[in-house]
């Protein structure tokens, strides 16, 4: 099969724990991603993103001085962001519902709960590769579409211009 696959991809790991960074690097290496930059927190990661193209970001949530949520908001919304569409997988032990929702509302592409397994990480990457998400820009949010699926019996409200293009509204 032709195509470079992961070999030409550039990844960025944003994680304050050196052991976790090493594990994530090894798991990315296992699929052929060799060009990997690392940053210990969001602020440093933003600098890396400005200096070097990144096709995929794996980010922790709890970091100082800038956490993964603020980092994601900056990537998605800052005028200085080099790629507001870059896929961001948030990897965290903070799995409480309100934190997952906060990550979703910040604009993460995928959420992965620690402890991580190779299978879970690869499933999130496969999701990005196979089913890239549409992006939504609305008041107070820019990021991947937070509606994963369309409920067949959804009766509205219809808030997107596109909702009217292919939906009969009664």
């Amino acid at each position: 099969m032709s195509g470079a696959g992961f070999e030409t991809l550039k990844a960025l790991i944003v994680e304050d724990n050196a052991h976790m960074r090493a594990l994530l690097r090894a798991l990315l290496n296992s699929v052929g991603i060799k060009d990997i930059a690392e940053a210990p927190h969001g602020e440093a990661a933003l600098r890396v993103l400005r200096e070097r193209k990144s096709d995929l970001v794996l980010s922790d949530l709890a970091m100082k001085p800038m956490d993964g949520l603020e980092f994601t908001r900056q990537v998605r919304n800052s005028d200085a962001s080099p790629n507001p569409f870059v896929p961001i997988i948030m990897i965290t032990g903070h799995t409480e519902k309100h934190r997952v929702e906060a990550a979703r509302d910040a604009g993460v592409t995928e959420f992965l709960a620690k402890p991580i397994t190779a299978a879970n990480l690869y499933a999130r990457i496969a999701e990005i590769v196979e089913r890239p998400r549409a992006f939504v820009r609305c008041e107070g949010y820019f990021g991947p579409d937070r509606r994963r699926r369309m409920a067949e019996d959804y009766a509205g409200p219809w808030r997107r211009a596109e909702d009217f293009a292919d939906t009969e509204v009664r």
Binding site: M1, G3, G5, T8, L23, H98, P115, E130, R159
Partner: protein, 160 residues
């Protein structure tokens, strides 16, 4: 454009913004993700990561014990332990850390201080589990269930 139209969300389809990789590369990438070779390499990576992580967790446990009633630091460290205890093969340690984190998070959300005795019990259980020579899953299940029941009772009391 009317104000209502301006307020409507703009929908950007995947083919309208730069993708992580081309369709051709994606097919190859999926083949790699699903290959047996990748699974073997990943398994090896996980196995190699476990020993240094276990050493790190033992260090974190010492720090956790030293933090005493400094709840913010206890929460941060317990969270860190929860994050990779299971990756290091310390399943019981991970489960008890998970219960402690959820308890402290729930108490913070309802605006009440975490009970120092409950926290100390968890810290002690985490330390014992991490330092045990073998991860005793059966005993770990019992301890975790007891602690979870205790936490549930205390949370119910706190919500009254």
């Amino acid at each position: 454009m009317t104000a209502a139209a301006a307020k409507q969300a703009q929908f950007i389809a995947p083919d309208a913004y730069p993708q992580m990789m081309s369709t051709q590369d994606a097919a190859r990438a999926m083949q790699t993700l699903r290959s047996a070779t990748t699974a073997v390499k990943a398994q090896l990576a996980m196995e190699q990561a476990a020993p240094p992580m276990k050493l790190a967790i033992l260090q974190y446990v010492c720090e956790l014990e030293e933090f005493g009633t400094d709840m913010e630091r206890v929460f941060e460290k317990a969270h860190e332990i929860r994050g990779f205890a299971e990756t290091a093969g310390l399943i019981t340690t991970g489960r008890i850390s998970e219960i402690l984190c959820r308890y402290m998070d729930d108490m913070a959300r309802i605006g009440k201080p975490a009970d120092a005795i409950i926290v100390a019990l968890h810290v002690s259980a985490i330390a014992q589990a991490a330092r045990a020579e073998k991860d005793d899953l059966a005993m770990g299940e019992i301890v975790a269930a007891e602690l979870a029941a205790l936490v549930a009772r205390r949370l119910t009391e706190a919500l009254r």
